[in-house]
């Protein structure tokens, strides 16, 4: 596919004798929301970490805009316009909501080694941070330390921190993890809002089927380290093998039906 922003080519990752990700190839189209689902242990998170650079693949390669980034360190990927969120809330707990977000904005600027001017006086970053906080509905709590936010607020701050860096590609690791189900729609609205101008591409690993089916352009189903199926939500919902291994697990179909 020529339109791919991010591509995985025959990615493989083994831990000792365990093959966690086995020859996975995948294209993420520019401007799309591409979800990766699969039962526990399917290798989604490992695959995700190969894309973010946290793990080095045992074999295969990762291409971003056609450029090989397989071995690029995590911090350099951020400078290429790749932002990631974390499944386990991963903030700067004792810094304020504003400081958390402003750091994200500052990270890609050129003022990180300005030792003798107060951080607040760099208006560009503060403005970028406020814009991201506005979008995620955190404007009212900018002065609070991140660790006093309720869980839902922390998940939103996760998103705000990625947005503040204005990345082209957002890698989201279970953005709704641990959220009460009534809070999920609000978070999905934020993700929808992020997509409205069509400039951003999102890859999302997610457990919540409703979230995935309702918002994705494309879905890849992983099972036992491999790609089991790929297609739009309608195709995936109709796919018999997917129903057997994944939906079956959720809806408690008898084990005998798995292919």
């Amino acid at each position: 596919m020529t339109d791919a922003l991010l591509s995985a080519r025959n990615l493989r990752k083994t831990f000792g004798g365990l093959v966690a990700v086995d020859e996975v190839s995948l294209d993420i189209n520019s401007g799309s929301l591409h979800s990766i689902i699969g039962p526990n242990g399917a290798g989604k998170t490992t695959f995700f970490n190969l894309l973010t650079g946290r793990y080095r693949p045992s074999a295969g390669s990762v291409l971003y805009k056609g450029r090989e980034i397989t071995r690029l360190p995590v911090h350099q990927r951020a400078h290429l316009g790749i932002g990631r969120s974390f499944q386990i809330t991963n903030l700067f707990p004792n810094l304020t909501v504003l400081e958390n977000t402003r750091l994200a904005a500052q990270a890609l600027g050129k003022d990180n080694f300005r030792l003798f001017r107060r951080a607040e006086t760099f208006d560009v970053y503060t403005r970028q941070a406020y814009a991201a906080l506005e979008m995620t509905g955190l404007r009212e709590v900018v002065g609070l330390p991140a660790n006093v936010l309720p869980h839902g607020g922390k998940r939103k701050l996760e998103l705000a921190m990625i947005l503040a860096a204005d990345p082209e590609l957002l890698l989201l690791d279970e953005p709704t993890a641990g959220m009460a189900s009534e809070q999920v729609p609000e978070l999905m609205q934020i993700i929808e809002r992020i997509r409205t101008d069509g400039r951003k591409t999102i890859v999302m690993v997610e457990h919540n089927m409703n979230v995935v089916m309702g918002s994705s352009d494309r879905i890849t189903v992983m099972h036992q380290g491999r790609v089991l199926a790929e297609g739009d939500p309608r195709q995936i919902a109709a796919d018999k093998t997917v129903q057997a291994v994944y939906l079956g697990e959720l809806y408690d179909l008898p084990k005998g039906e798995s292919a």
Partner: protein, 361 residues
Amino acid sequence: MKTMQAPNQPTWRHWLRGNAFLFILLIGLILFPFIVGALTDSSPFGVPRGDRMIMRGESVRWQSVLIEVYILAILAMSYNLLFGFTGVISFGHALFFGVAGYVLGLMLEFTAIETGWALLLGALAGIAICGVLGLVVGLVTLRLKGVYFAIFTLAVAEMAFIFFGRWQLTRAEDGFAITELPLWLDPSQNRLNFYYVTLIAVVITFLFIRRLVNSPTGAVFKAIRENEDRAQSMGFNTLNYKLLSLTIAGMLAGAAGLLQVILNKKVGPELLGVSYTVDPLLMTIIGGIGTFSGPIIGAGGLHFLDVFLRDAELNLGGLVIDIANIWALLLGIIFILTVIVFPFGIIGTWQRWRARRKPPA
């Protein structure tokens, strides 16, 4: 705290209000030798005898107590920059303190350079070498995380301790005396001058660290302390920032070492001893990790306890205990009590208490 300031207020007035307590404290410390002098009827300059001065009297004695506090405060503030603001734990801070002291001592006593120039060159070279040391030690070890880094720094400092303890040129473990100092700075002649030199050094260090920590670079330091993985995924090459923090902290610790050598007029391997690592660590924890004034409060508190309790005797109904003999035990108990009563250090706990009393902004 985070609310926007009224723009029409003159900035210096705003600055003064925000720092009122510190400002009053500073004026108090500037006048301190004269106040003590007036109260005890002693001269802050010492007693003249012939063309020399004898350092006798309460004012002069108190000056040296405070000079020691100031030196320890600089050392503790430098430790706090690394530990409290960047989250890097070093067990080898004495390395910088001692090496800078040796560089100055060697320059003053072992070269033919004229005293004033030797002092200037020795001070500059001492601080510069500490910066290089910080960079080299950091490049080798900062890839290690947490405890592993701490252990390695301890090893490096111990190596330096053993080396200078054996080096014949600097008279091994005896060390050597500083005999050549410019008269105006000599604490055994013009202690008051040296008092102000160290006080200025404390003020500069304090303002420097506060400005640094509040800069964009300082924001990254704090981010590394809070969550290094996250800082990396945002695009910060965290190794560079930790290197910078270690290098600056090393240079500041070196500056403290220079002052210590001038005060004692002696250079020896004890400057590299583990107590110059442990003391600033304790002072930082007691005063408040990651606060600006905590290390100063910690340094003052611990040193005053040391000065006053060490010579005291404990009288337990006929049983007289010399406190000097149980000093380490007592210090341990004080430390444990302080940590229980002030879990975030004296300043840190106070700040939290105040923040809780204020309605959320």
